[in-house]
């Protein structure tokens, strides 16, 4: 089948070189057009002798891109994998560092430390710091708190200090501030500055990682930047290798990442950045800076080619999404938030172009109010089950604001016997099965005298093998179990990690190896995701996807339920509470991260703005608005927006303001439909 370009896609596909920005509305088919462009350039011999490098965000996006470019190349009679590479941003950084790790002092055996290790190191170092500086640290908590409130505050403050330090260390890295420089700079700050604390811990943290021969993701990007900067010959070689650079989801770029991509493209090079400022929702989780992409779009010399048409959703869904943009830009009561969504409106695809917008036979958008949080989740579960039975060929998702809610709904679906799975959170248990089986076998073999009958029945056959080295035992069990494909790859990877671990801890036997396997579950889960996602991801019919709105990005379903649209989850006004603000800190410090980052920017000569706490709050509110926009635009034709009146602590819950405006809009359309 030949692919016909829409008018807005034609301009993008006509690109042959230079810097181009492609702001794209949700569902605009940016993967398709970029893949088409890549294949077109390759067929025309433009990248040769180099290649096109496509950078995207998730392993499944990598798989999707690879499959689309491969299809387009194959249609032109070219090999599926010739002339391009697709990488996640972290895989790109790793690739660059692997060129010459020794140039920045890294052992070629360096590893990227897993979350458990990083968390353990930071937690220990932060607790140590707090113990040594308790008076200053405690003085941050509001003076008016006492008794039970105070102890609860301090408990939460200790927990939050860890994440604060972690964020600030990553901020140092994204601004290329070394531990030594951070220490020196922060000495001018008062002792109660969180930035100063983080600088104290930063040095120790880096030393501990270094002694493990390990790095974190921040180091990886910084290392890539350092290598490219200090070695012009290497940069030139890589520029020759990647003659074109495409960046997907550019609105989620952070400063250092943008710098690395600009270095690789070079002045006069070929850089295409595709994104949607209205879908910038990663700022709270990463150091993403949505303004970077907005600025790139306005940069002189950058060709701006927006993709404004989208065939994903029905006109009715598009209208709701556009209404959210319109209301925000024109009627948001907080004037400072009117720019949170750019006035970029989705247009339907003209007739005769594919994919055509769905055309439902009636108005399929609704709103619901439930009495309680529990009622809402139970009803969502029930409705999802009912729809699944009625429309077995359609895809469906329930999008919720938090992982906790996702977990509750999954439990309810399971209790009702409705097939469901989640995305983006902890690894799917199905993908962890090999790892969990091996862990269970190890735990049995390490202590068979404490095992129950079931474990005996499953694992006793390997009792004679308990003297094998643990890594060899993993391989033996895997072979005996007849594992294949991804499951065998997971077992091999586990054996490899275990072998490296045993080099450092040679005295460890089965008992300790079993404990180590438990610690490795998270890291192994990530590895499993890499394997399973490498071929791309497309939601399947016949089950309910339950996921956070964040993890739903880039995906679409026929039916989407967006739940818990309350003010506490989607704050919209300055008077609403936001989670990043800590109740136990004084008003001017209620968001210590914002204060510390502003301090850092000031120390680095930037303009931190007058009131960092207020600015940070506006950022968070803006991001929640965009999150709602992302959630709404996942739906192809059925969309249900809901909220509840009483939260799970039995406190009164109010609907968020943008929802109210959407409800008014939807109700009006429904009544028009009725007429």
């Amino acid at each position: 089948m030949t692919f016909a370009l829409r008018p807005d896609q034609e301009r993008v596909a006509a690109y042959r070189g230079g810097y181009m920005a492609v702001p794209a509305v949700p569902g605009a088919g940016k993967t398709t057009v970029l893949a088409y462009l890549a294949a077109d350039l390759i067929a025309g011999g433009f990248p040769a002798p180099g290649r096109i490098l496509i950078v995207t965000y998730t392993n499944s996006a990598v798989g999707n891109f690879r499959s689309r470019v491969g299809d387009f190349l194959e249609q032109r009679g070219l090999p599926r994998s010739a002339g391009y590479e697709v990488r996640t941003i972290h895989s790109l950084a790793l690739r660059i560092v692997r060129e010459r790790p020794e140039a920045i002092g890294w052992a070629d055996t360096f590893t990227v430390a897993d979350e458990t290790t990083l968390g353990e190191i930071l937690s220990r170092l932060t607790s140590g710091w707090i113990a040594r500086n308790r008076t200053i640290w405690e003085s941050m908590v509001r003076e008016d708190l006492s008794g039970g409130f105070r102890s609860r505050a301090e408990e939460q403050w200790e927990e939050r200090t860890r994440s604060l330090v972690r964020t600030l260390i990553q901020t140092f890295k994204s601004r290329r501030v070394s531990p030594q420089a951070a220490y020196t700079l922060s000495r001018t700050l008062p002792p109660d500055s969180a930035l100063r604390w983080a600088a104290d811990i930063y040095t120790e943290y880096q030393r501990e990682l270094a002694a493990l021969g390990a790095v974190d993701f921040g180091d990886l990007m910084l290392g890539a930047w350092q290598i490219l900067n200090q070695d012009a010959a290497l940069l030139a070689r890589l520029q020759k290798r990647w003659t074109y650079l495409f960046e997907d989801e550019a609105q989620d770029s952070y400063r250092l990442q943008e710098q690395v991509l600009r270095l690789l493209a070079g002045p006069g090079g070929n850089l295409v950045r595709v994104g949607d400022a209205n879908q910038a929702i990663m700022g709270t989780f990463t150091s993403a800076e949505p303004d970077l992409f907005r600025r790139f779009c306005e940069e002189p010399g950058v060709d701006l080619c927006p993709l404004t048409m989208a065939g994903r959703s029905s006109q009715d869904v598009i209208d709701v999404a556009n209404e959210l943009v319109r209301w925000t830009a024109n009627h948001h009561p907080e004037h400072d938030l009117r720019s949170a969504l750019l006035p970029q409106y989705i247009e339907p695809v003209p007739p005769d172009f594919e994919p055509a917008n769905p055309r439902p036979d009636r108005y399929k958008i609704a709103t619901r109010l439930y009495d309680t949080y529990n009622d809402e989740l139970s009803e969502l579960a029930r409705m999802a089950g009912a729809l699944l039975g009625r429309y077995p060929t359609q895809t469906m998702a329930v999008l919720l604001p938090t992982n906790a809610m996702v977990a509750v709904l999954l439990e309810q679906l399971e209790a009702l016997g409705i097939p469901a799975r989640t995305l983006g959170g902890p690894t799917d248990p199905e993908r962890q099965r090999t790892m969990l089986d091996l862990l269970a076998a190890f735990e049995f073999l390490a202590a068979p005298h404490h095992a129950d009958e079931d474990a005996f029945a499953r694992f006793a056959r390997w009792l004679p093998q308990t003297l094998l080295p643990p890594d060899e035992l993993v391989l033996t069990i895997a072979l005996d179990m007849g594992l294949a494909g991804e499951e065998l790859a997971i077992a091999h990877h586990l054996a490899l990690r275990l072998g490296l671990f045993l080099q450092d801890e040679p005295g460890f036997t089965l008992t300790e190896a079993a404990a180590h396997l438990r610690d490795e579950l998270q890291a192994m889960g990530r590895f499993a995701d890499t394997l399973y996602d490498r071929k791309g991801f497309k939601p399947l019919p016949g089950l309910v996807y339950v996921t956070t709105c964040h993890a739903a990005k880039g995906l679409e379903w026929d039916t989407v339920f967006v739940g818990a649209l309350t003010r506490s989850e989607y704050p919209a006004m300055r008077t609403d509470k936001v989670r990043s603000e800590l109740w136990f800190l004084p008003d001017d410090r209620v968001n210590p991260e914002a204060v510390a980052v502003a301090e850092l920017d000031a120390l680095l000569g930037g303009d931190p703005g007058a009131d960092p706490v207020a600015l940070a709050k506006l950022d968070v509110i803006g991001e929640r608005l965009r999150l709602l926009y992302v959630a709404v635009t996942r739906a192809r034709e059925n969309l249900l927006l809901s909220h509840h009146r009483q939260d799970r602590w039995e406190k009164k819950a109010h609907p968020t303001l943008p929802y109210m405006s959407l409800k008014t809009f939807i109700d009006r359309r429904k009544s028009q439909e009725g007429e």
């Binding site: 890294w106 068979p448 790859a489 091999h492 008992t511």
Partner: protein
């Protein structure tokens, strides 16, 4: 005074030509002790000895260079002492094993760990090994002292690391000083004393002149500059010198080998050069293919194509699937009548998964796997591990028993003959009580009595004494005769313990404090390969295979899209090229040199490997590494370019 250089590729017959010269001299009446033969390493020395043993009577003077200088320093210790006052209190020198050197240097690194970790991302153990092994060895091979080494490394593009290298210099100087005080020579000090103290002495040179009439040097391309100095000096003293130079050698640059320096000094444009064309270990077309492949890897445009050179090119997504496919292919080859010993699987890193999968599958056919690049650690052998646990049980102060119940459970299975469930139960009891409970088996009762007796000994146990006694009194009665693997692992353990004790006697216990435990339990210490007892398929890294001198009918190149095929001899602290004699002082080390060096290394490797294959080459490629990362090493591309994506119908090279 006549010097001949025999030049040729792998399999061209250089060593045979040298051997013939040797035997001719011997048959002509020259005494074997008048011919000094220097070969590249232990395996080559053994091969030489085997080749000439039948015809040559008398003592054979066949050594590696390091073996030779150790012998000479022993023999002429007095002459060395006369000039180095610090050594006069020692009657004989002792030589420092590398693992003990690493531990000694690790102790010296400790005060600098914060400084190192601010600049490097590497484990302290690795840093110590690079200082004690890489930097010290390569600098000494080039005749550089620690100060000159530090200056060079910092100048060549690492001015920000001047402070770091200054610390490395201080560590190496402290290490040298402590070695001198102890009369213990590591590689660097041995080389320094030999080349700078002994060889310059007129009496010693006269001794060499009288002693040797002939000099034969195999693998001149693997020699280091300091050795080349010596060869040049000796070749002037003897009647005749004959060197063999491999045009596709030079694989030991990471140890400071300087093939180009050797060529310029002894070969290029001189009389007395004998060129041996071709190779007996491959066919002419393969010879040309190896060359073309090497040129392609180094970025040259190669017009010639070699269809059919590759019998099969397997491409799979996952590495684990590739392992499965390769192992199945091995089975097919065996079914087709290929002799196991004629098949080699070459992998840039030989991981457990590959070895275990191959071993299991081939065992069903009665075929073993001979791993030249072993991954099995000493502690992986249950009996060796049991000895270590036993040492901890008898000597709690040694601090070995950190592993607790699991280790004790394994001990009780091995030494008390308990089943795994009972052993786990009683292992837990032992860990809690700190001593063995009543054990239900005769072996267990013997063990318990032995432990009690050993604990009551008045004199503290020395580690090697303990290992030896336990082997004799606990292990031997249980096992009757030791299996080769068990024997080898226990020997290794004993060897490490003995070497530690010998060093500790010289350096004093303070030099090691508690670190000797690490020497015994080092997780990186592997059991060296022993000859297989059954017909075996060879498994090796390219370097181990080339060092073995083997050639094969079938070579399976595993994981050819891995970057591991491009040797990475430049590390975060060590750069053998900058420390080489021909490195222009002050020249920065940039990506240009880095890429060229890696490509040249891969080209050398690949050319030499192809020339060791007289049958077929099978390629295995996987898209994802064992870490789930995409792979794109250039070797796969070079093969596809030159030999085509699909094999010729017959799929084999004509032998």
């Amino acid at each position: 005074m006549a010097t001949t250089v025999i030049v040729g590729a792998v399999g061209s017959g250089k060593s045979t030509a040298l051997t013939e010269r040797y035997l001719n001299w011997v048959r002509g009446g020259v005494r074997t002790e008048q011919v000094l033969v220097l070969a590249a390493g232990a395996a080559q020395v053994t091969a030489w000895r085997q080749r000439v043993a039948l015809e040559a009577f008398g003592s054979l003077e066949v050594f590696s260079f390091f073996g030779f200088l150790q012998r000479e320093l022993n023999l002429h210790w007095g002459a060395v002492q006369a000039q180095v006052a610090e050594l006069r209190s020692w009657v004989q020198p002792a030589f420092l094993p590398s693992e003990v050197a690493n531990e000694l240097v690790r102790g010296l690194v400790e005060p600098y760990e914060a400084q190192f970790s601010d600049t490097l991302k590497a484990k302290p153990r690795r840093i110590a090994a690079q200082i004690a092994g890489g930097l010290s060895t390569v600098a000494a091979a080039a005749g550089l002292d620690p100060a000159a080494m530090a200056e060079r490394m910092a100048l060549a593009g690492r001015p920000d690391r001047a402070g770091l290298y200054d610390s490395v210099r201080a560590i190496l100087e402290a290490h040298r000083a402590q070695c001198l005080r102890a009369g213990v020579l590591d590689y660097a000090l041995s080389l320094e004393l030999f080349t700078q103290v002994l060889v310059p002495q007129a009496t010693y040179r006269e001794h060499l002149r009288q002693r040797y009439r002939y000099l034969l040097v195999d693998d001149l391309d693997e020699t280091v500059p300091a050795e080349q100095d010596f060869l040049e000096a000796v070749s002037r003293l003897v009647d005749e010198a004959v060197f063999a130079y491999g045009t596709d050698g030079g694989h030991r640059t990471f140890l400071g080998a300087d093939p180009q320096g050797a060529w310029e000094r002894f070969g290029a444009g001189r009389d007395g050069m004998v060129a041996l064309p071709g190779s007996h270990t491959c066919v002419p077309r393969a010879f040309a293919f190896g060359d073309a492949l090497a040129r392609r890897i180094q970025g040259e445009a190669v017009a010639e194509r070699f269809p059919g050179m590759v019998a099969e090119h397997m491409v799979l997504d996952l590495r684990s699937d590739l392992i499965g496919a390769v192992v199945r292919r091995l089975g097919e080859l065996l079914d087709q009548g290929e002799a196991p010993g004629e098949i080699v699987v070459l992998a840039p890193t030989v991981e457990r998964a590959l070895e275990v999968t191959a071993r299991r599958a081939l065992a069903e056919r009665g075929v073993a796997v001979w791993n030249l690049s072993p991954t099995r650690r000493i502690l992986d052998e249950p009996h060796a591990r049991a000895l270590i646990t036993l040492a901890g049980l008898v000597n709690p102060a040694w601090g070995i028993l950190q592993a607790g119940a699991g280790a004790l459970s394994a001990l009780l299975q091995v030494l008390a003959g308990l089943d795994p469930v009972r052993a786990a139960e009683l292992g837990e009891v032992t860990a809690q009580a700190g001593e063995l409970p009543e054990l239900p088996t005769p072996e267990g009762r013997h063990l318990r009595a032995w432990v009690e007796q050993a604990r009551q000994r008045q004199r503290p146990w020395e580690p090697d004494e303990f290992v030896q006694t336990a082997m004799a009194e606990v292990l031997a009665p249980l096992t009757g005769s030791l299996s080769p693997e068990l024997f080898s692992a226990c020997q290794q353990l004993l060897g490490r313990a003995s070497r530690f004790r010998e060093a500790a006697e010289r350096f004093g216990p303070g030099a090691f404090s508690s670190r000797y435990v690490r020497l015994l339990t080092d997780g990186t210490a592997v059991v060296p390969p022993s000859l297989p007892t059954a017909p075996a398929v060879v498994l090796a890294t390219p370097y181990a295979y080339l060092s073995s001198g083997l050639s094969s009918r079938v070579q399976v190149w595993f994981d050819i899209s891995s970057n591991g095929w491009y040797p990475a001899d430049v590390k975060e602290l060590t750069n053998p090229h900058i420390l080489g004699r021909r490195w222009p002082a002050g020249e920065p080390w940039t990506d240009l040199q880095h890429s060229r060096t890696r490509q040249a290394g891969a080209a050398r490797l690949v050319r030499a490997l192809v020339r060791r294959c007289i049958g077929q080459i099978i390629l295995g490629e996987c898209n994802l590494s064992a870490w789930g990362q995409e792979q794109e090493g250039g070797l796969a591309e070079a093969f596809t370019d030159l030999a085509g994506p699909a094999p010729a119908p017959e799929g084999r090279w004509a032998p």
